[in-house]
């Protein structure tokens, strides 16, 4: 198991009037080579979980294991996590700080004191991996990039650290439909090519429903429920209570229950929705004679 959390609790500013509970007894595990989505509304503990998984904080209470090793023991070197896990933050501006693209992406390799040729190779490969030409972008000024380009540069900067795991924190916020599609495709491609584990933090299900192997839904610092995308969609009432909107296909399916009571709502996309509608149309047509009698007898 790559990560394992058991009853993890973490309170920020503990002992002060500003104390905030980030995590309040969270247990979950994350397997290597999977795409795992962590979904929850604001203040559900997502950001605190990012801090824990990236090795930025050690949880105050509970057990946290990384590749089977107990992070809580004094002999555990937290750098083991930090050198394996890269984070792409929500606003790419937050993690781009050099003036040119080349310098920014090479920051990690330079910090590792890698030989220049090795560092250049990493920068080139990382930029090409996110679809930016090394020759064209190396000397570009970072401030003049578009939002989508900045996101790609931020991802390249993380790839240049050669991580095993990349955490994406709401990476599509503010992107238009095409930009969103391209970024999600890029994540799938990077995962396959670099055999990465992807952890995707999101406030909604739309981005992750077709992307994730496992989805965990958080509520106030605890695990509400988790499972495959189909399993999670079956919790439609609980999702509504947590103010997590259903993806478009599931929403339509739920609404069509008025005419098709047997309609399943755990549909991931348009194709599954249409299949479910066809099944129910056949059912309803067969059941129609019986239905036609009912109103007559009721009146």
């Amino acid at each position: 198991m790559l990560f394992e959390l058991k009853n993890v609790q973490h309170t920020y500013l503990r002992g002060t009037p500003f104390a905030v509970d980030g995590l309040r007894g969270l247990s979950l595990s994350i397997q290597s080579d999977q795409t795992v989505a962590i979904v929850g509304p604001t203040k559900s503990g997502k950001s605190t979980l990012v801090d824990v998984l990236a090795g930025l904080i050690k949880p105050a209470v509970g057990a946290f294991f990384f590749e089977g090793a107990d992070v809580g023991v004094p002999s555990f070197n937290i750098d083991r996590i930090r050198s394996s896990v890269g984070v792409v933050f929500q606003s790419p501006e937050a993690q781009i700080f050099e003036d040119t693209v080349g310098k920014d992406v090479s920051f990690g390799p330079r910090r590792k004191k890698l030989p220049l040729t090795e560092s250049r190779r990493l920068v080139q490969e990382s930029l090409e991996a996110v679809g930016l030409s090394y020759e064209d972008y190396r000397t570009r000024y970072t401030y003049a990039l578009s939002g989508g380009q900045k996101r790609r540069v931020a991802i390249a900067g993380v790839l240049a650290l050669e991580p095993k795991v990349i955490i994406f924190d709401e990476p599509t916020a503010g992107l238009d439909p095409r930009g969103r599609r391209e970024l999600l495709d890029l994540i799938v491609k990077l995962k396959q090519r670099h055999s990465l584990t992807i952890i995707y933090m999101s406030s909604g299900l739309d981005d992750v429903i077709e992307l994730a192997d496992t989805i965990y839904v958080l509520d106030q610092g605890r695990l509400a429920f988790g499972g495959t995308p189909h399993e999670v969609l079956a919790h439609s009432a609980e999702l509504a209570e947590l103010d997590i909107t259903l993806p478009e296909a599931a929403q339509i399916a739920l609404s069509l229950r008025d005419i098709f009571p047997a309609m399943r709502t755990d549909v991931l996309n348009l194709a599954e929705l249409e299949e479910e509608i066809s099944k129910n149309r056949v059912l309803t047509v067969k059941a129609a004679p019986a239905q036609a009698v009912q109103p007559a007898s009721g009146e």
Binding site: K43, S146, G174, D176, P177, R178, L273
Partner: protein, 280 residues
């Protein structure tokens, strides 16, 4: 009325050399009380248009008129324009200036140098409209993004604008909270006859607007009802936009003989209505 006459604008003067024009000879008229959605991919010019209408930017060529006042005339008119055209940005942190909710909402009216009782009246009204009364004394930094966006909107409404520009206001607010906020604002605007110009790239947000404008490369690509816009799905895809899933579904079901469907389906209600009609 808001009038955009042959407006061209480029960011090259702002230090971005060789920047292509963000708007190209754009013409647009918005009547008082109208509700309009403006959609387009990132970089299509929609936010630039909002900033020109709010007199934050001035056109390179052409004219922007707010109730007949030129936004680039200088002088005292600019204050009238700023009062009539309110703008709500994507990130509420960009426009909240005070420490507490009540102080932030008061900021605009105080700067209009209104009498104390009227400032008080406007604050109370704006807070009531957005359900913020119980938060009046709370610190802004203790609020969630959704609550902050409410405060930002209340602050703009306290200026009693005639035109309300919403520049992707739900980007940072997820789920029902975002949807509810949008519904609230639309209802408020209708009650008070304020024109709403809603800028977004979420297609599901525009089905409730009477008029939709599609922007691409600084030009107006379409101007019509949601149904007339969604009927041109191929053109929308070509400029990086989608139609709502319900519209694609409606098209397929129509082809499979689903009864009583309009040519362009905008809601699941229409599917259900067609089905029930034919089975009774």
């Amino acid at each position: 009325m808001l009038e955009v006459q042959k407006v061209t604008f480029s960011y090259s003067a702002q230090g971005e050399q060789d920047a292509p024009p963000a708007l190209r000879e754009l013409d647009l008229r918005i009547e008082p009380g109208e509700t309009i959605a403006i959609i387009g991919h990132n970089g299509s010019g929609k936010s630039t248009l909002a900033k020109l209408l709010a007199a934050i930017l001035k056109p390179d060529k052409g004219t922007v008129l707010v109730d007949g006042l030129r936004t680039d005339a200088g002088g005292e008119d600019i204050w009238t324009i700023r009062q009539r055209v309110g703008i709500v940005f994507q990130n509420p942190d960009d426009q909240l200036v005070a420490n507490t909710v009540i102080d932030d909402i008061a900021f605009g009216p105080e700067n209009l140098r209104l009498p104390r009782f009227e400032i008080e009246e406007r604050i109370q009204e704006a807070m009531a409209l957005l359900g913020l009364q119980e938060y009046a004394q709370m610190a802004i930094n203790e609020l969630s993004v959704g609550q902050k966006q409410r405060v930002a909107i209340a602050g703009v409404l306290a200026m009693r604008p005639r035109y309300l520009l919403l520049d992707e206001p739900t980007t940072m607010i997820s789920g029902h909270t975002g949807r509810n906020l949008l519904t609230t604002v639309q209802r408020l605007a209708e009650e008070q006859a304020i024109a709403v110009i809603h800028i977004t790239h979420f297609m599901h947000e525009i089905t409730s607007f009477k008029r939709v404008i599609v922007m691409d490369e600084g030009r107006m690509l379409m101007d019509g009802t949601p149904a007339s816009v969604f009927a041109r799905a191929d053109e929308l895809h070509a400029v990086g936009l989608d139609v709502p899933m319900i519209t694609s579904l409606g098209k397929h079901l129509h082809a499979q003989g689903w009864p009583g469907l309009p040519e362009v389906v905008l809601s699941a209600e229409e599917l259900k209505a067609g089905w029930l009609c034919s089975s009774n």
